[in-house]
């Protein structure tokens, strides 16, 4: 991307096309709503960050003011007392492994589904899509029983398997739509160039689907990073806990076992959970929007 910089500080606004001005009202409403939503989120984030550096007293006295002094001990207390250190490692391992595995399984599956027109493929697509509609709460007990039979409860590998499985339906659904939107001509060109199915998939379709894959990856990472219910059911030991579990237990320790709960430390804990995802979004979010098929066809 090259951006042209204008020498003059005033950016010239082109004359709008005739008739487009009538959409002014809609546009104002839309812009207002967007900004309201964005500012609300930014405020919440700021509140979280500010509070994580404050004493409990200060949080209640001046909830919206920046911290008067930075109480870093909130963060260290959350990190050590909450057991966030090992939890962070566990979470990173499980989330990274599952979200990558999901893609490795879902991408070929979605590609195959998007390119076959048989009745079986249609049925399979519906079957995958059904998985999105069934809430985890319904399936979690049967899954737990099954995993217990193979000794994979209270076990990070087991959690990884379950995470991968529950993420598949949505990912397959998302990627099927994405692959369907890619021009089929390129596969024909590849076939004539002598590429087999695997090479066409790996060397042509996957690079073209990159923005779809990144989208799926980010959505899965964020979803699994914050996942609590399954982890709560499957993990019992403190040393196997994930970040969201640690936060949960940290929250209960702080609020129930102490007369003088340190809310600042709690917010520090929340920040530890949220900030990595924020960073990930800032880093990769733009890729979601970036189109790559430009120039594939006339």
């Amino acid at each position: 991307m090259t951006t042209t910089t204008h020498p003059s500080p005033q950016v010239r606004r082109g004359t709008p096309a005739p008739g487009t001005q009538h959409h002014g009202v809609l546009r104002i409403i839309g812009t207002t709503l967007t900004w309201a939503f964005a500012s609300f989120n930014v405020l919440v984030l700021l509140f979280m960050l500010f509070s994580s550096f404050k004493t409990t007293k200060e949080i209640f006295r001046a909830p919206w003011a920046p911290p008067s002094s930075l109480h870093f001990e909130n963060w260290s207390q959350a990190w050590s007392n909450g057991g966030f250190g090992s939890a962070a490692v566990n979470t990173i391992l499980v989330v990274a492994a599952s979200s990558v595995s999901v893609l490795v399984i879902a991408a070929p599956a979605a590609y195959a589904l998007s390119r076959t027109q048989t009745r079986l493929a249609g049925g399979l697509t519906v079957f995958f899509t059904l998985g999105i509609g069934i809430p985890t709460q319904v399936t979690i007990i049967p899954i737990f029983v099954m995993m217990a039979k193979v000794n994979l409860v209270n076990n990070l590998f087991g959690l990884y398997v379950v995470y991968t499985a529950v993420s598949l339906p949505f990912t397959v659904f998302l990627l099927t739509g994405f692959f369907r939107s890619l021009p089929g001509r390129l596969e024909e060109a590849a076939a004539i160039d002598g590429a087999g199915v695997v090479r066409t998939f790996v060397q042509i379709m996957l690079p073209l689907a990159r923005s779809g894959l990144v989208t799926a990856l980010i959505l899965n990472i964020i979803g699994l990073w914050h996942e609590t219910l399954i982890a709560l059911v499957f993990i019992q030991d403190q040393d196997k806990s994930t970040l969201s579990l640690s936060l949960l237990s940290f929250m209960s320790t702080i609020t129930s076992f102490s007369d003088n709960p340190n809310w600042g430390a709690l917010f520090a804990g929340v920040s530890i959970l949220v900030l990595p995802m924020l960073a990930l979004y800032v880093w990769l979010g733009r890729r979601i929007v970036e189109g790559i098929t430009v120039g594939a066809t006339k």
Binding site: E188, A189, A191, I192, A195, I204, G295
Partner: protein, 361 residues
């Protein structure tokens, strides 16, 4: 290099009632450039895609160089194709696009580089080798698509309307380049277009299709001079041949005041007394006073500089009909002027009025 044979080839799409290509018979000689032409939806692309192996064949047999390839996968047919939308790989550079087949075919790297460089030089693509297709103009993309085909040195080139995305001037220029390149390489080529000018100028032979049925397969000149039926007569030529409804009376065909002689063979070939009379725009001459003529009034004049055409309304015994007539570009008549026209003797095409087939000469 090889010849290509379509032997009674039929394609019926799932759910379609009529075949997209119906019992097609074509024999294309080694090194020949054959143009498939016809109106939209007549089955040109389907024919080409069957030859490429991108479409199944429901009946008949396709042979390339005497090998039956009817059920052979595209990659094993040794063909190269230029798609209408080019279908370049957007994430690869021009160099990688052109060299993709060679890489798959495990050609040594130095050899790939040599052939890609050679193709790029031939097509004036050398400065763009490291660019991605998204940053090329339409004409450049078209040349990359050509490059991808020619580095392969295949048995057959297939081109599906490769010029239709170019502007008129570039199209004419690229057309001559393709013709020259094909003659130089001597590779058997099947070229699809719906543009009859392209067909006439480019093809060694032209196959005219309509509704999936081959109408005529011949040299461009022969198609122009002796169209096999009224469809070909009306499709080829710009403006197309005038087709007038006439009736056999005795030994002559009557069209309004005109009487045109017929041969015995022609009369015997007729299935009814209805005859369609075809007259090219340049085959009209002014009628002398008292001579039988078509009385016409000019409605519109198209002056192209080197050519001029008058579009007239003529009275065919009660029924008004449009006529396109070539007129002298130096003395273009005015709109509203009256013309008395008769066809030059010997320049009249006669067709069976019912079947549309050409009557024997």
């Amino acid at each position: 290099m090889a010849d290509v044979v379509f032997d009674n080839v039929t394609r019926i799409y799932a759910g379609a009632e009529t075949p997209a290509v119906d019992a097609l018979e074509l024999e294309i000689a080694d090194g020949e450039l054959v143009v498939l032409v016809g109106p939209s939806g007549c089955g040109k692309s389907t024919t080409l895609r069957m030859l490429a192996g991108l479409e199944g064949v429901d009946g008949g047999e396709i042979r390339i160089g005497s090998h039956d390839v009817t059920h052979v996968r595209p990659k094993d047919r040794d063909i190269a194709m230029v798609f209408q939308e080019y279908a370049l790989y957007p994430h690869m550079t021009v160099e990688q696009n052109i060299g993709f087949h060679l890489k798959i075919a495990k050609v040594p790297r130095t050899e790939i580089a040599r052939r890609v460089t050679e193709a790029a030089r031939m097509l004036d693509l050398t400065p763009y080798l490291q660019r991605k297709p998204g940053k090329l103009s339409g004409g450049q993309r078209q040349r990359v698509a050509m490059g991808r085909a020619i580095v392969r040195e295949p048995q057959v080139f297939l081109m599906d309307e490769p010029l239709s995305n170019l502007d008129a001037k570039l199209r004419v220029q690229t057309r001559t380049e393709i013709a020259a390149l094909q003659r130089r390489l001597g590779v058997t080529t099947v070229y699809v277009t719906h543009d009859q000018v392209e067909a006439m100028t480019l093809g060694d032979r032209v196959a005219v299709l309509d509704h999936g049925v081959l109408q005529q397969f011949d040299r461009p000149r022969a198609i122009f001079d002796r169209p096999a039926n009224t469809f070909v007569a009306g499709f080829m030529g710009s403006p197309p041949m005038n087709l007038l409804g006439g009736r056999l009376e005795g030994e002559d065909v009557r069209v309004a005041e005109l009487t045109l002689p017929t041969t015995r063979a022609q009369r015997e070939a007729l299935t009814s007394d209805e005859v369609t009379v075809g007259v090219r725009t340049d085959a009209f001459v002014p009628a002398a006073d008292g001579e039988a003529a078509l009385n016409s009034i000019i409605e519109l004049v198209e002056d192209l500089g080197s050519d001029a055409y008058a579009y007239c309304m003529t009275d065919l015994g009660g029924a008004a009909r449009h006529l396109a007539v070539r007129v002298d570009p130096d003395e273009v008549p005015d709109r509203g002027a009256k013309l008395r026209l008769r066809p030059r003797p010997g320049a009249v095409h006669l067709f069976d009025g019912r079947t549309g087939d050409r009557l024997p000469d």
